[in-house]
Symmetry: C2
Subunit: 406 residues, 2 copies
């Protein structure tokens, strides 16, 4: 597997056009991504009971299991809590794209992110869609613009692309994502879009996405809130000449590895750009009885406000970590827990067999003052492990989210 340039346009047969349609102030805020040929689609969506209108639209498309041709995304307005008007606007967006491409509206996915409770400015949106369609292109720059257009308060665009070779033929997977920026007057939204030229069936792709989401997006936490708009979409257009990806095929293993890598890297980039985040924390729990127990413990640790503020203060606070593991819902023997911290400044063990061990506080402080920190917690109940990614809880987080509307 090699990293390559080109983001979502690295795979064959995808194009994108992006514009500043005026939904945000003078920034790229709309993008249309198309596939030259019908593409299989898979999706994962927010579990929030309150779902934005485009989420419902996309869920219907994904559950219909038919091929798609395009994805249209706007930032600056989430089209959430907008009543029946919101549903009509989604349909209109899909229809406008479909008309421009001479396909059906049910072949067009729609995503929105931004302000909630405010109807979309549909005139701007319509003009924006027309402009996007006139700019469709498969260049590296077009991919960059597309990744920028889906951002809200993200401080950098999130792009990735990789290539694997099977029987001398390349399969490419590209991706872009936006992370958690607070959107007036609302919550963080996560969007992630993946393209691939692999030949793969929709149902296979959906299963793979389901298992991938568990260990990537579901293992990150910035502030613990689940948005009304969270969406992951995968488009596979089958234009690669490599053998099809299917159970037991020669392509399967490498494709799965690359697919999971792309999603996990995007998930980590979202955390790295978390609101007010000064540190990137990777927590690995080993020796758990089950994989689910390992996930529960790792996720609980990176979600704890007390753990997060301790990292902000560069405090080797093993007690808060153990406590968060304890209320995670996982079962484990507290008397078999070992905990250590590492960063490029060094490695330090702070707890062994459930009892703290004397450690060099100065070294610990040094390790925890780094920007990227690895934490390892080992329990003694089995062989399963899981990793979760999070960030510290800073003054800046409180400032951004407390002062937003002031």
């Amino acid at each position: 597997m090699n990293r390559i340039d080109g983001g979502v346009l690295a795979p064959n047969g995808f194009r994108a056009g992006s514009v500043a349609a005026g939904i945000k102030k003078k920034k790229l805020d709309m993008t249309v991504l198309t596939s030259d040929v019908p593409a299989a689609v898979a999706g994962a969506f927010t579990t929030n009971v309150v779902k934005a209108a485009p989420v419902v639209w996309d869920q219907n498309i994904v559950s219909g299991k038919h091929a798609v041709r395009a994805l249209v995304v706007n930032s600056g307005n989430a089209n959430a809590c907008t009543g029946t008007q919101g549903d009509e606007d989604v349909q209109k967006m899909a229809q406008l794209v479909a008309d421009g491409l001479d396909v059906e509206s049910r072949e067009v996915l729609v995503c929105s992110t931004g302000v909630i409770g405010v109807p979309l400015p549909m005139e701007k949106v319509a003009t924006g869609i027309a402009s996007c369609l006139s700019l469709l292109d498969d260049s590296i720059d077009a991919a960059k613009d597309s990744a920028a257009a889906i951002c809200t308060t993200d401080t950098f665009s999130k792009e990735i692309a990789v290539e694997v070779e099977i029987d001398g033929k390349a399969i490419r997977i590209g991706g872009m994502a936006k992370g958690s920026g607070m959107i007036h007057p609302n919550m963080a939204t996560m969007l992630s879009f993946i393209t691939t030229d692999a030949q793969v069936e929709a149902s296979y792709l959906q299963n793979l996405l389901g298992s991938t989401v568990i260990d990537s997006y579901n293992m990150i936490s910035v502030d613990g809130d689940t948005s009304t708009n969270d969406t992951v979409l995968v488009l596979a257009n089958g234009t690669s000449a490599a053998p099809a990806v299917a159970p037991g095929s020669v392509s399967e293993e490498q494709f799965i590895e690359a697919f999971k890598f792309v999603h996990t890297e995007l998930a980590k980039l979202i955390v790295l750009d978390g609101e007010g985040a000064g540190k990137f924390i990777e927590v690995t729990v080993c020796g758990a009885r089950t994989k689910d127990d390992a996930r529960l413990m790792a996720k609980s640790v990176i979600s704890s406000n007390l753990v997060k503020t301790a990292f902000f203060g560069a405090d080797a606070n093993w007690g808060r970590m153990l406590c968060a593991m304890g209320y995670s819902g996982a079962s484990f023997d507290p008397l078999a827990v070992s905990i250590s911290y590492a960063s490029k400044a060094g490695l330090i063990a702070v707890m062994k067999n459930g009892v703290p061990i004397a450690f060099d506080e100065t070294l610990a402080k040094k390790i925890l003052q780094e920007k990227i920190i690895q934490v390892s917690a080992t329990v003694g109940d089995g062989t399963e492990e899981a990793t979760a990614w999070g960030c510290d809880l800073s003054y800046e987080y409180v400032r951004i989210n407390g002062d937003y509307r002031s």
Copy 2:
């Protein structure tokens, strides 16, 4: 029901002695509470897998359903993550109190709160217990000292007592609690101790406590972390001349009301004294399909960092509230939600039937700048309701918890 003075010593037949044993610096840090006669006991404990040694000791006593004579509490050291030494120290503490009172060690409850991972300074503890026993008294001041001795970083002691009259005879219920103060190097711990002179059986008391905890302590959140030491204990010594409290008895209704009131008030005091909390937020969810759904939604709202920072910023951010209700796990129709805010500065509706309504932002700001704020969310799925209590998330919270060990 009347409020009276005297805290945990308001009911007949209880005494307490408290001292500064030197576990904390120059502050009251130990208290022994005794009942003149054997008292029925009920308890509720942390659900954390990691339990401090005294929690395990008390759980055994409560599950044994035998009467108790005393409770000893120290602050400044949680006796958690202390291995087998911790278990031995708990037993020693109980034995010392038992010897002083000429009772059995299994009749003595033990609680600790403070630093974790450090063995108790048992010489100081032993001297402290002897001093406490020499000071046993049933005065209002003795109750105040006892309430002070269990505190850690609490900014005020939390005491309450009430009296109900049945057939011309008084039943009294008293209580004291400590709230969430960050304890080096660890987490918030909640302790709550209730005394009553009611005649009531242990199993009845335990059932009542179980249902009471759900709508009091379990409906508050300061930072979402569940400590290794959280403990609620109730001692009922039956010295009141009023008719016994039992199913269908003349005392039952009034006793239950007073009992729930005492626990709920203590729970609210804990939130009011939450770390870095500048505002007290009461969230009531009405019209839910089930009581559990109402609880889930109310609890989810007050636990959300995004909601909490919005209150810190005096921001009428209905979107974050609706979002938190949406991921609470409760089922409800998002298109039937109404939300309003109130404080002594006024009342304002911000959402009706799932769609935001235009509101006076200046008035909203005024309402949310108050110290005590009520939020009401109505859903349209039934008739059940629940209330939860929380606080804002402030710079001060990050400062206290980020800088603690610096």
